[in-house]
Amino acid sequence: LPADTLSQPARFGFGRAATEAEIAAVDIDVRPDGKGLPKGEGNALEGKAIYALKCGGCHGATGTEGPNDRLVVGDTTKGGARRIKAIGNYWPHATTVFDYIRRAMPFNQPGSLTDREVYSLTAFLLHANGLWDEKAVLNAKNLPKIQMPARDKFVPDDRKDGPEIR
């Protein structure tokens, strides 16, 4: 055995302790249980206006037209329904909508939205998918409780080593 594996220390002492402020500055994720959601609130009506201004150009007037990702399920009676993967039929957690919009949208101005804007856009998109009331206030308390239609569709990876094809 090489000599140095014997002398590996429990800790090397490189790096430094992170301060709470440092962590807070980057700790922007939002979990399914709502952990990470900021204070504040928003609503679909406000969201609708912001959407029209900042989002519709890429996702379509009603969130179904594109050119970029379809956000709203919309009419599934027309062909291609199987390929529609929108918030209302494919997203298992409402918190992900908030998290993703805040970190990554609008695509050309990522990270530019206020928390109120993000709450309102989330409320609007949930409403457009038939999952939230147009006038209700969305906040850290009620957002995680929204039941998403796709929730029970998700199953963990069951592929294993070996010959089985899955």
């Binding site: 994720d29 979990r31 998290d99 569709k153 963990p156 990876d157 080593d161 070996g162």
Partner: protein, 386 residues
């Protein structure tokens, strides 16, 4: 190349008397370019990736062996390639740890380091074609291989004192998408690397400069580039990339999630579209890999799958690494189909497209690794068949 001993008394006169095209004909008569600070690529060689808005594909059919030149490594990003100043770079680790910490790039480089040659592959790495005019680059060019060097994530876990109760961690990038993926903690204790070097030099910007997460054998997206933060937790974070994306319908209305491992795969890169071959001896060449471990065998069929023969594997065959395979074959000019399939050390056999569709309720999507069949016409042209 031929050398002509020209009869002239004066060197200078001689060189002036030659036309430019004659000079180019005989490089033995002109002093060449002196040594430089950086090597170059021959102007006669122009390997290129094929970029879309969101990805760029490695020209597999133009490559040899197992290493991908770094500038030909495939790209897939969700907010473009950020410009990161390495002196300002910091990695934060927090959440279920004894001691939340910040590491500079210099800090990371001080820890014990580890290197390994391993493939990286986007789990959305499949395309077909109706007219057969599609190259390996389009079919599965979202895979590449490098030698990666960095610090084992387990070393960083120990330094921060990861709680035994932590089961998942969030890996977050510093790009415009602030890319996030939840990764099981066991992968961190097993073989994950906080990588800062690729093929000997600093990781290229397109691959995560200055620091990326590298998860040997696991789908590309989870190997978060431009890594800025790791948060330990006791559940996955359910980010957009592990719910809306990078999940696949598997039939019965079910969607498979956290499907990290890349199934075993191979492709014949020669002969392949758009190459044209001649009758006689042909060395069938390709690459094979598995996210589960080593390639244990590659089988090649030259009769449309009726019979299979074992290809030669180029040593060293490494864990979770692209392995070059070769199979010598004498072609009599009769139209036929040629194909390859990988068997990995766990006994997984690369499936046909039909088997995959059957197993997944008729759905295509991520983790689609079917056998690629090439149709060899009587005139030597090669077309994608399935």
């Amino acid at each position: 190349a031929s050398i002509v001993l020209v009869q002239t008394a004066s060197g200078k006169a001689f060189q002036a008397a030659l036309t430019a095209s004659e000079l180019a004909d005989d490089p033995t008569k002109i002093p060449g370019v002196p040594p430089g600070v950086l090597g170059t690529r021959s102007p006669f060689e122009k390997p290129v990736k094929t970029p879309s808005d969101t990805s760029s594909r490695t020209p597999l059919q133009d490559l040899h062996g197992m290493i991908t030149p770094s500038d030909l490594h495939y790209e897939r990003h969700h907010g473009g390639v950020p410009a990161i100043d390495p002196t300002k770079y910091e990695l934060v680790i927090h959440g279920m740890v004894e001691k939340p910490m910040v590491f500079t790039l210099a800090d990371l480089k001080r820890f014990p380091s580890v290197s390994r040659i391993a493939f990286l592959e986007c789990s959305g790495n499949y395309r077909g074609s109706n007219d057969g005019k599609i190259r390996p680059q389009e079919i599965c060019g979202l895979t590449s291989q490098s030698e990666w060097t960095g610090v084992a994530l387990s070393t960083i876990f120990r330094e921060a004192g990861v709680s035994p109760k932590a089961t998942w961690f969030l890996a977050e990038g510093g790009d415009a998408a602030v890319m996030t993926r939840s990764v099981p903690v066991h992968k961190g204790w097993d073989d994950a690397i906080i990588a800062y070097a690729q093929n000997g030099e600093a990781i290229r910007p397109e691959q995560g400069y200055p620091v990326r997460l590298f998860l040997p054998g696991w789908e590309g997206n989870a190997n978060v580039k431009w890594l800025r933060r790791i948060e330990l937790a006791d559940a996955p974070f359910m980010t957009r990339e592990e719910t809306s994306k990078y999940t696949e319908a598997v039939g019965g209305g079910k969607i498979r999630q956290f499907s990290f491992t890349m199934d075993a795969r191979s492709i014949i890169t020669y002969p392949s579209y758009p190459a044209k071959v001649e009758k006689g001896w042909i060395e069938i060449r390709g690459i094979a890999w598995s996210g589960r471990g080593k390639v244990s065998r590659v089988e090649v069929s030259t009769d449309a799958g009726k019979t299979w023969q074992i290809a030669r594997l180029q040593e060293p065959v490494l864990d979770k690494a692209i392995t070059a395979f070769r199979h010598l074959w004498h072609w009599d000019g009769t139209p036929t189909e040629i194909m390859s399939r990988t068997v990995d050390e766990t006994g997984y056999v690369q499936p046909f497209l039909k088997q995959l569709l059957n197993a997944r309720g008729g759905n295509m999507g991520y983790h689609f690794n079917p056998v690629t069949t090439w149709y060899l016409q009587g005139d030597g042209a090669v077309l994608f068949k399935a």
